[in-house]
């Protein structure tokens, strides 16, 4: 018995003990000059006082760990340390292991190898659930001067590391030897720092910057083109969404910030629609306009865009098992962490094809809105046709930036300089069959379009179109570079579409329209390309100016045009405008205009658009 215990806990002996703890072993000190030096200096009073000590064991502090931390705090004189506890949201009941549970400040015990442990670690630790266990801790780990043997958790078949003697519920290094393969022989506190309560690496990122078992790597997803969180990722951000109460127990648990039920994913939502369906209430908890959750949930203090849950309930996109989350067809959004596409669109790991970026924006929408669905509206077929540009040198229509559609496609935008996307007119979260359009494309102009898709002489949608065709644009929409589009709104009421008066227009009977009527935009135009059905151009050629292939009557029905050839009158339905450069009845609008106008007034002027257009002083 060469150590302090053999000396006996006399007053002098206990004084020695404290000093030895923090400097050196008592071995052989008894009669040395150093012994006398130590005893004379009374270092016991660092922690103890005989008469004034407020704490147990005559310690100078009521709270034992505070006594230790007066030296072992971040601002103290020695290595900083915190007690061992669990993180907020941990899967375990709250616990706190204080300093002396693992350390013996007087250091009078040898371990089972008859050697002292490092760092005053106890030779025997009273564990929470496994009785008292012997601890061997003579080296730190695998560093150059830190042999792995006899270290924290050396994987040598005896589970006597200072960490593993207690652990029974962790994934790794339990005191029954299971999970020992995790960084065996390394220094546990390199990742589970003592001054960070032994929490793993101090952050979620510390582990999830690489694959963890079956979990994919996460951290880099926050660096994709679009992502939640606009500033540096923080654990607090992770915990806004992730319930950690059962961390590492096989499921991803997501919080409902409005206090709703926790979403427990037991499968992959990318491949299992029923799993993806669980995510809609989770997403809407933040993306609603109210609720009890924080208005700015993340550390970036951004306010999430509002997606009204009532509107989403009725939205056309909310059908079947479709969720917010999915592969692009079962749901539109990829991982909530980040996507290489805009607006977290799926699939998140696939970058759009530069420079067209076609699978973003229209490309993404048209994936479903094509001939084989699942959307019932096929827009892909029309948009897949070559863009039909207005020809030059045609008088009043000599604007080479005009074509057959809104310029949502990259190729169109490159030529015209214009910028507009599907979502400038449609809100995928609220659109229904009855109301497929957003209510007010340009709220800044103070004018609110009417609601409801009614077409019976009531002008409900012209104001919608005029939100842009007044020459000023909402955010995200951009005019042609040069020449710019005409301000139709200013001239619309006088150019013939609105209450043009006069007697020379020679309107046919039976069309419903009369002199003095205001014609809505949609009596002649459609926002998407319209394919001329059969005559005058190659089949499938989109009609210029996005005019529909025959005019609507005032009651909203398609008007047939009666074409007389010789003695035979033929009723036809389709004469779109596919070539404004030509002068003939078929491709340049002659018949199309004469659906309503009596051709007798237009003799010799087959190309109506050579002279007439919007915004030209009422010449339309």
């Amino acid at each position: 018995m060469k150590r302090l215990a053999a000396i006996g806990l006399t007053a002098v002996g206990s004084t020695l003990a404290l000093v030895m703890v923090h400097t050196y072993s008592a071995t052989g000190l008894g009669a040395s000059p150093m012994f006398m030096l130590i005893a004379q200096h009374d270092p016991c009073s660092n922690c103890h006082s005989v008469h004034t000590a407020p704490g147990q064991s005559l310690t100078n502090e009521v709270v034992r760990e505070v006594l230790c931390q007066t030296c072992h705090s971040v601002a103290g004189g020695d290595i900083p340390a915190e007690v061992h506890n669990n993180k907020t949201g941990s899967s375990y009941a709250a616990f706190s292991i204080t300093c002396t549970d693992c350390h013996e400040p007087h250091d009078y015990q040898d371990n089972a190898n008859s050697n002292p442990n490092l760092k005053l670690v106890r030779a025997n630790i009273a564990t929470p659930s496994s009785g008292t266990k012997g601890v061997v801790f003579e080296s730190r780990g695998t560093g150059a001067s830190e042999p792995a043997a006899l270290s924290f958790a050396d994987g040598d078949g005896t589970w006597d590391g200072v960490c593993e003697v207690c652990h029974t519920q962790t994934l790794f290094h339990k005191n029954d030897g299971t999970g020992a393969a995790h960084n065996a022989g390394d220094t546990c506190v390199d990742c589970h720092a003592h001054d960070n309560y032994f929490h793993g690496d101090g952050s979620c990122q510390g582990c999830h910057d690489q694959t963890q078992g079956g979990r994919r790597e996460i951290v880099s997803e926050f660096s994709r083109s679009s992502h939640h969180l606009q500033n540096t990722l923080d654990d607090a951000d992770c915990e806004v969404c992730h319930d950690q109460s059962q961390h590492q127990q096989g499921s991803v648990r997501l919080k409902n910030v409005d206090g709703g039920a926790t979403v427990v994913l037991t499968g992959d939502p990318n491949t299992t629609p029923s799993e993806a369906a669980k995510l809609t209430p989770f997403c809407l908890a933040c993306h609603d306009s109210g609720g009890t959750g924080p208005a700015q949930p993340f550390t970036d203090n951004w306010t999430p865009p509002t997606i009204d849950s009532t509107s989403w309930d009725a939205a056309s996109h909310n059908t079947g098992s479709r969720s917010c989350y999915g592969d692009g067809t079962s749901g539109c959004h990829a991982s909530g962490h980040g996507s290489e596409k805009q607006k977290l669109l799926a699939p998140g790991g696939v970058a759009p094809t530069a420079p067209a970026n076609a699978e973003e924006e229209e490309g993404f929408c048209l994936t479903c809105h094509d001939s084989d669905g699942p959307a019932s509206t096929d827009l892909s077929t029309a948009y897949s046709q070559p863009i039909n540009w207005v020809q030059t040198a045609t008088g009043l229509n000599s604007n080479p930036n005009l074509n057959d559609r809104h310029d949502i496609e990259y190729a169109a935008q490159q030529r015209s300089g214009a910028l507009i996307e599907c979502t400038n007119c449609h809100n995928p979260h609220t659109a229904t069959a009855a109301q497929p359009y957003i209510l007010d494309p340009d709220p800044s102009d103070g004018r609110t379009p009417g609601t409801g898709q009614v077409f019976a002489g009531t002008d409900t949608y012209s104001e919608f179109c005029m939100d842009c065709h007044d020459g000023s644009f909402p955010a995200g929409v951009q005019d042609h570079t040069s020449p710019q589009i005409t301000d139709i709104r200013t001239t619309w009421s006088s150019d013939g579409m609105g209450a043009r008066t006069g007697s020379s227009v020679d309107l046919r009977a039976g069309i419903g329209w009369a002199i003095g009527d205001i014609m809505p935009c949609w009596s002649c135009h459609t926002p998407h390309p319209t394919l001329d059905k059969d005559i005058g151009a190659a089949p499938g050629t989109p009609t210029l100016f996005a005019v529909i292939d025959t005019v609507l009557s005032k009651s909203g029905t398609y008007l047939p045009f009666e074409k007389t050839q010789g003695q035979t009158t033929t009723t036809i339905w389709a004469y779109g405008i596919t070539d404004n450069l030509a002068k003939n009845d078929v491709t340049s609008g002659g018949y199309w205009c004469n659906t309503c106008h009596d051709r007798t007034s237009m003799t010799g002027k087959e190309n109506c658009y050579g002279c007439h257009r919007h915004g030209d002083g009422g010449r339309f």
């Binding site: 000093v19 030895m20 923090h22 400097t23 050196y24 072993s25 071995t27 052989g28 000190l29 040395s32 150093m34 030096l37 130590i38 004379q40 200096h41 009374d42 270092p43 009073s45 660092n46 922690c47 103890h48 006082s49 008469h51 004034t52 000590a53 407020p54 100078n60 502090e61 009521v62 709270v63 505070v66 006594l67 931390q69 007066t70 030296c71 705090s73 971040v74 601002a75 103290g76 004189g77 020695d78 290595i79 900083p80 002292p116 960070n196 500033n231 540096t232 923080d234 607090a236 951000d237 806004v240 924080p294 700015q296 949930p297 993340f298 550390t299 970036d300 203090n301």
Partner: protein, 312 residues
């Protein structure tokens, strides 16, 4: 026997430290016009709903009387309202901060993780850092705007380093055992360092006072334990205009007010306890513009305010 050998080695090293020239002041360190103070106006980049004081270590006052607080576990600098004692904004640093100080439009932060001093603009944007390993386990940081010096306690090497604002070392104070806090008395042109001492060598805790050539001027000794109402775990310190030193003692959980001339304890502020108004592991002090004293209480995660305790 192995430990005894280690002890002798340590003692030898310590003796060797004393044999060194304790201070190496620069040839020319004339005073300059101090930079006009700039009120920090950084945007909050922390989660507003979770904004709170969690691990307050050192503080620094702003020109308007706000408090900048180094919050260790949050890895952030918080701006704390001196009346509500709650943070209204904060910005994160890349690591864990132990101390913060202001000079002109710069915010200096002692970064324990990277063992250096990070420098931010008053807008909270990182500008530059001192050299890697400029300090080892920094425990405190203070600025002297007149001499344009940044003094940092290097706890791992038991020295106080004086840098210029760019991070160039100007001189080093080595005659210390375990320095923890540092302050500057501008009126007396003195540097004050709190020192835990070394119990194994019979070296008691103290406040060490140096001139600007780094020469020791005076030492105010504490006590090894709690007896005699002295200090034994001296932490952050401040001086008022009357020659009094306000020293935080982490163990007794109070502010010990010392007379600069006599070293006598003339007052104590605060009591131990976990409740509001009490201190549990206090670490730093700031004397406010109206004579109030602010103290970081690390274990209770609070800033405590003691109103009107400093004569104006």
């Amino acid at each position: 026997m192995r430990r005894l050998t280690l002890f002798i080695l340590v003692a030898g090293v310590l003796v060797a430290c004393f044999d060194d020239a304790p201070i190496a002041p620069p040839e020319d360190r004339s005073t300059t016009e101090p930079e006009p103070p700039v009120e920090p106006d950084f945007l909050n980049t922390l989660n507003r709903s979770l904004l709170a004081v969690k691990a307050p270590v050192r503080m620094a006052p702003t020109p308007s009387g706000q408090l900048l607080v180094a919050d260790y576990h949050q890895g952030a600098i918080l701006r704390v309202d001196p009346n509500t004692l709650q943070p209204d904004r904060g910005f994160r640093i890349d690591g864990k901060p132990s101390a913060v100080a202001l000079m002109g439009d710069r915010i200096f932060v002692a970064n324990v993780t990277s063992n250096t001093v990070d420098v931010f603009g008053s807008n909270g944007q990182w500008r530059y850092s001192f050299a890697p390993e400029a300090v080892e386990r920094p425990t405190d940081l203070v600025v002297d705007p007149v001499h344009r010096l940044v003094l940092a306690v290097s706890g791992g090497t038991n020295v106080v380093k004086a840098f210029d604002v760019s991070g160039e070392v100007q001189f080093v104070i080595r005659d210390l055992w375990k320095p923890t806090g540092v302050a500057v008395d501008g009126s007396r042109q003195e540097i004050l360092v709190s020192d835990y001492g070394e119990a194994a060598h019979g070296e008691r805790a103290s406040v060490r006072i140096f001139d600007y050539d780094g020469n020791p001027i005076a030492t105010i000794l504490g006590h090894a334990g709690m007896a005699n109402s002295r200090f034994s775990r001296p932490q952050g310190l401040a001086v008022d205009g009357t020659g009094r030193i306000y020293l935080v003692d982490a163990l007794s959980a109070e502010v010990v007010v010392l007379d600069r001339e006599t070293g006598a304890t003339v007052n104590t502020i605060g009591i131990f306890g976990p409740d509001p108004g009490q201190l549990l592991l206090p670490l730093d002090i700031v004397i406010g513009q109206t004579g109030d004293v602010y103290v970081t209480s690390y274990k209770t995660r609070r800033i405590e305010r003691f109103i009107g305790v400093v004569a104006q």
